[in-house]
């Protein structure tokens, strides 16, 4: 049975307000797939529909070859979920929690093994209210793995964690992939998505605005590259905008930021302009579009769209 996720034309309304508007994507078996988007973009709503916490208004969801609406219980046997915040009862111990949740499945991993794997071996008998934020999050992950899932859903798993815990969690997620799991995670950390995900879907205002591998998305950002230029005195913006290949000029305070479709032509024209104006070059950086650029450009465009 393929451990994949296929979502087709998913809609979710809260009353009359659409939170998810026709989302479609496919997660291939064994990949880490990221749903990336700003807060309120519809990531959590999409995920909640996928894991069966909410009924979608419309659309098809197939997980491990099963229709998630019809075979909801069979799907739940095959998936593991770690929600954004999982608070358990104050007085439950990590071991009891794993045992309790394990008992809800036909097949489950023994508590000591699972707790060891998520670095909670020494905290097995500690009560939930004594665990740190990172330990709680690891316990949530352990619970997501209690049934040996084929697909794991993680909703903003690193939110609220310190850098050390975040790094540890990333390693756990990579291990999931190495163990043959399919991972679907939502995040608003660009860096996280870039480092972890094989593929990403950028979601904004309930719609997928781009899908692809992080490097594809960056490359596909219209081939645009950014030049950060510092000169004394500063060159006038209108003249910079008129340079060959330049599509956009931004005054970033000490530096001018240019976006160019043809860096070679822009650099050549810039050299000529600097000589003509007799300005001194202090700093010049050329870099490719980052995921952040892609993200900001796409989501900004989306927010502008309704007005257009």
């Amino acid at each position: 049975m393929p451990a994949n996720v296929v979502v087709h034309d998913l809609w979710k309304h809260y009353g009359a307000v659409p939170a998810v508007r026709g989302v479609s994507f496919t997660v291939e078996p064994g990949e880490i797939f990221g749903l990336l988007g700003p807060n309120g973009a519809g990531k959590t709503s999409t995920l909640e529909c996928l894991v069966g916490l909410r009924d979608s208004t419309q659309g098809e969801i197939e997980i491990c070859g099963l229709n998630a609406r019809i075979a909801a219980r069979a799907v739940k046997e095959k998936i593991g979920v770690a929600l954004q915040t999982t608070a358990l009862q104050d007085k439950i111990t990590a071991r009891e929690a794993v045992r309790l949740f394990g008992s809800f499945y036909r097949d489950s991993v023994a508590a000591p093994e699972l707790l060891q794997r998520f670095g909670l071996g020494e905290k097995a008998d500690a009560r939930f209210d004594t665990l740190s934020g990172g330990q709680r999050q690891r316990l949530a992950l352990a619970l997501a793995f209690v049934n040996r899932p084929a697909v794991v859903f993680l909703d903003e798993p690193t939110t609220g964690l310190d850098p050390q815990s975040r790094r540890e969690l990333h390693e756990h997620i990579r291990q999931m992939k190495r163990d043959g799991c399919t991972v679907l995670l939502s995040t608003h950390h660009l860096e996280e998505a870039e480092q972890l995900c094989d593929r990403i879907a950028i979601i904004d205002q309930g719609r997928i605005v781009a899908t692809g591998a992080p490097h594809e998305l960056m490359a596909g950002a219209g081939g645009l590259q950014t030049l950060a230029l510092v000169t004394t005195p500063m060159l006038p913006m209108d003249e910079l905008a008129g340079l060959a290949g330049v599509t956009e000029v931004e005054n970033a305070g000490t530096a001018m930021r240019l976006r160019s479709r043809d860096v070679a032509a822009t650099l050549e024209a810039l050299g000529t302009l600097m000589r003509e104006r007799a300005v001194e070059l202090v700093d010049l950086q050329v870099r490719k579009a980052s995921l952040e650029d892609v993200f900001l450009r796409l989501t900004r465009r989306e927010t502008k769209e309704p007005a257009a």
Partner: protein, 469 residues
């Protein structure tokens, strides 16, 4: 199945780790028990007549506070949301939560029973019937608790809702305040509350007629419980974000109210409102309202085989008299008071007391051929005003005492009073002496019986020169 059992055992373990839950679930009912024990300390068998009320308080606390508090706090934290991500159906988790609660209230009830036995209560007369009644009471209140858990959006709301159910049931629902002391309108109201049926059913198991005497109460409790469980299931919400006000299916609440209304209407229709039937049945003899025709009074001595030649009181020995418990409330207190000799009533009280003194020698129940019953009836003339707490309660005991000492030789009177004090729960009870010009009805014949016993002790002490209290 495995999941349900694991959830059940985890819920129980977590309950016993939660200090607040223990406080509310166990200590709180025990405080009630101690309060009742102190309040009714002069009753012959401690707490026996109040176990129905005490057990009801236990179940009410556990089911209507404990259950919704635990459920709502877990829902607020997202535990129920997390359960929903697993393949186990929600009803399985709800059922094991309810079962865990049943075990919890059962342990609280058993603890209460154990403490009551430790302070001298006798074993319940019908343990099996008591268990049946307890289960029905738990079912009714757990159903109610489920509805409250679905109504309340957060834990403070549970507390507020809980008080709205708990306090009226305690005060005018027949749980903490005996029905007999409530006004007529409150009796009608109490018929619509499950608390009254809970007390009746449990008491019938502790000191009443057993299963036979609790049929109506059981029916009422099961009906109320079933309505609660149905509405609770239909209104179930696993996510704290689902607010009650925005929830569909709120109409199911009507089912709960309909069940309460149906039970109340049925009680009205069957005429079960005014008289606390079970309370009267608890007395070994029926209640008589004066003036009873003397011939119609079946005396305990006369009803079974023909009376033995020597009257029972004649066998009373000095040892019996010395063996009585003379620790009775002080004369100046509110229970069984006797005015000092130099305290004479004035104004209308003087007239009322004088009227009783004038009528007493010709009062038919006081002229009963059976001496024991006659003295008992005369003691009720002191007991009834005390039970109702009339202004004349302090003066009438002396009138009765004077009449008794005039009517009977001293030794005989001491023996008769001793016999009565040794058999306080026997004989006919008169709880209405309006034919002597004392208006009002005591309501609970057991209270009258208890007061008659106290006066018997006080009179013996006076006659034999003993110190009472």
């Amino acid at each position: 199945m495995n999941g349900a059992l694991e959830h059940l055992s985890t819920s129980l373990r977590l309950h016993f780790r939660n200090r607040m839950a223990l406080l509310y679930g166990y200590l709180f009912p025990l405080i009630f028990l101690v309060a009742f024990w102190v309040l009714y300390r002069h009753e012959k068998i401690p707490l026996l007549r109040h176990m129905g009320e005490l057990l009801t308080v236990s179940v009410l606390g556990g089911a209507c506070f404990g259950l919704p508090t635990a459920m709502v706090s877990e829902r607020e934290r997202g535990v129920w949301r997390r359960y929903r991500l697993t393949p186990v159906p929600t009803w399985v988790v709800v059922t094991s939560t309810v079962l865990a609660r049943y075990v919890i209230v059962l342990t609280a009830g058993l603890l209460q029973l154990a403490v009551a036995l430790a302070v001298g209560m006798t074993m319940p007369e019908h343990p099996v019937a008591l268990m049946v009644a307890f289960s029905a009471v738990a079912f009714a209140f757990i159903g109610l608790g489920l509805v409250m858990a679905m109504l309340a959006d957060n834990v403070p709301a549970v507390q507020a809702l809980g008080q709205c159910v708990f306090l009226p049931m305690l005060i005018i629902g027949g749980v903490a305040v005996p029905l007999a002391s409530l006004p007529e309108w409150a009796l009608h109201v109490s018929a619509f509350f499950p608390g009254r049926y809970a007390v009746e059913a449990l008491q019938a198991g502790v000191s009443g007629p057993g299963l036979g005497g609790m049929r109506f109460s059981l029916l009422a409790l099961v009906l109320i419980g079933a309505a609660g469980c149905l509405a609770g299931a239909k209104l179930f919400r696993w996510d704290a974000q689902q607010r009650f006000a925005a929830r569909s299916g709120r109409g199911w609440l009507v089912v709960v109210f309909a069940a309460w209304m149906a039970v109340g209407a049925l009680a009205e229709w069957r005429g079960r409102i005014a008289v606390p039937v079970d309370a009267a049945e608890r007395v070994t003899a029926p209640v008589a309202v004066a003036p009873p025709a003397p011939a119609s009074l079946p005396t305990p001595a006369a009803v079974p085989p023909p009376p033995p030649p020597p009257a029972p009181w004649e066998k009373i020995t000095e040892q019996d008299i010395a063996g009585l418990d003379y620790r009775v409330p002080p004369d100046e207190g509110i229970v069984s008071p006797i005015a000092p000799v130099d305290d004479e009533p004035i104004d209308f009280l003087a007239a009322q007391v004088a009227e009783v003194r004038r009528q007493l020698p010709n009062w038919p129940p006081g002229d009963e051929p059976n001496d024991i019953q006659a003295v008992r009836n005369l003691l009720y003339v002191a007991g009834v005003p005390d039970a109702i707490q009339l202004p004349s309660e302090r003066y009438l005991p002396r009138v009765v005492f004077d009449h008794l000492t005039e009517r009977y030789p001293k030794d005989k009177l001491i023996k008769i009073l001793t016999w009565i004090a040794m058999h306080p729960e026997e004989g006919m009870v008169i709880d209405d002496i309006s034919d002597l010009g004392i208006e009002g009805t005591a309501g609970d014949p057991l209270v009258v019986q208890e007061r008659a016993y106290l006066y018997a002790i006080k009179f013996i002490a006076r006659l034999t020169g003993r110190k009472a209290n």
